[in-house]
Symmetry: C2
Subunit: 225 residues, 2 copies
């Protein structure tokens, strides 16, 4: 087995790197992280296993890089979508939550990867990688917070970041609850298990809206004179 072409120039290397990430992301759509082997990723790239390690120091670093891409794209998209949201109306929390939930549902790879971030991906990376990732995150969270404040004018300063952090927690938790392993899904399909079933978008929208509503200053309902 031979490789078609070697990546000598930096742009070729970047392209190959991107190709690997694409394959990894596609594979993640079909099976759980744990069931994906580096050998399989390599095979689908028409590369040898060892070659993957020229581009990523570990399996975790590979998927963290994939997450990094997805995350950056999502933040950008979210910024635009929130800006397009005419803000200030009484149902601002609901519209905000709906927009956010929608934007996440459209990015399945992202919500597949997010739950792995702390438990798996960050467990086997070196400090440089971690620092670069958190740096990027910090920047994007800053931008994102501005967008949040734009969509939710009543929000107290500092609560923009807080909303994003809490959103992250909700996504991680809800996504896991909504996508159980096959065996568990079978059990949850029984009628009496209905209360334990979670539909991701709906539940994210509902919980985020409630949380934001609870963070906004009390709506003063003027009593009818």
């Amino acid at each position: 087995m031979a490789v078609k072409q070697r990546a000598r120039k930096d742009e070729d290397k970047a392209a190959r790197r991107r190709a690997i990430l694409t394959v990894a992301a596609r594979l993640l759509g079909r099976k759980q992280y744990h069931r994906i082997t580096m050998a399989e990723v390599a095979r689908r790239c028409h590369l040898a296993k060892g070659t993957l390690y020229l581009y990523f120091r570990s399996k975790e670093e590979l998927f963290l890089a994939a997450l990094e891409d997805e995350l950056a794209q999502w933040f950008d998209a979210l910024g635009e979508q929130l800006a397009a949201l005419a803000s200030g109306s009484a149902d601002a929390p609901e519209r905000f939550a709906a927009t956010v939930a929608r934007s996440l549902v459209e990015r399945e790879t992202l919500t597949d990867l997010l739950p792995l971030l702390h438990t798996v991906l960050e467990q086997n990376i070196d400090e440089d990688t971690a620092a670069a990732f958190k740096q990027m995150l910090l920047r994007k969270v800053g931008e994102g917070a501005t967008a949040v404040h734009l969509a939710l004018p009543g929000l107290a300063p500092g609560d923009g970041v807080r909303v994003l952090m809490r959103l992250h927690a909700l996504v991680v938790g809800l996504r896991q609850m909504a996508d159980p392993a096959p065996v568990v899904a079978q059990v949850l399909a029984r009628p009496q298990m209905e209360p334990l079933r979670v539909e991701f978008e709906e539940e994210l929208r509902g919980s985020l809206a409630a949380m934001v509503r609870g963070m906004l200053p009390l709506q003063v309902v003027s009593s009818v004179a």
Copy 2:
């Protein structure tokens, strides 16, 4: 190496099972799930590795059993603590959230295990085990919801369960964010990373309070006549 005593009677077997679970829980307090090996658990129990598999069908099933115990105990404790909460005052959401957060912080093993539930533990168990676990959960959630409604009288019917499900999501997400891997912790310790740091109890209390506030009917603030 020989075992001191064999577990012949059912109660002896149950005791040994409990002993294994205790060892596993203690180990979990010291290192991440991924770093705990079945060989080590066995060694600390003064048993052979194979013996563990007489009591649990897989590593995942072992830790799921540990989680099951912790969860049942927590639900019971929560029920009592919520019942003791004089309800109905204006700051009900805050007091509710504080009580819940406190009860979880006191059970580190539980909050260590919860983030593993969907991503890891439920990935390698058979249907019977899954069914038993979900059955238990369903029962406890039912009881718990009653306790929630007791502490938050304004809550709409059905929202008691919803609060618990969303609480679960928050715990899973926040606990992971609050306990990063050592390498990541080092990065987050840098001053400029402050916005990305999360203190579990504080953040859980805050986000849960906000969410509950947002789920309660609008507080009508009577304007001064």
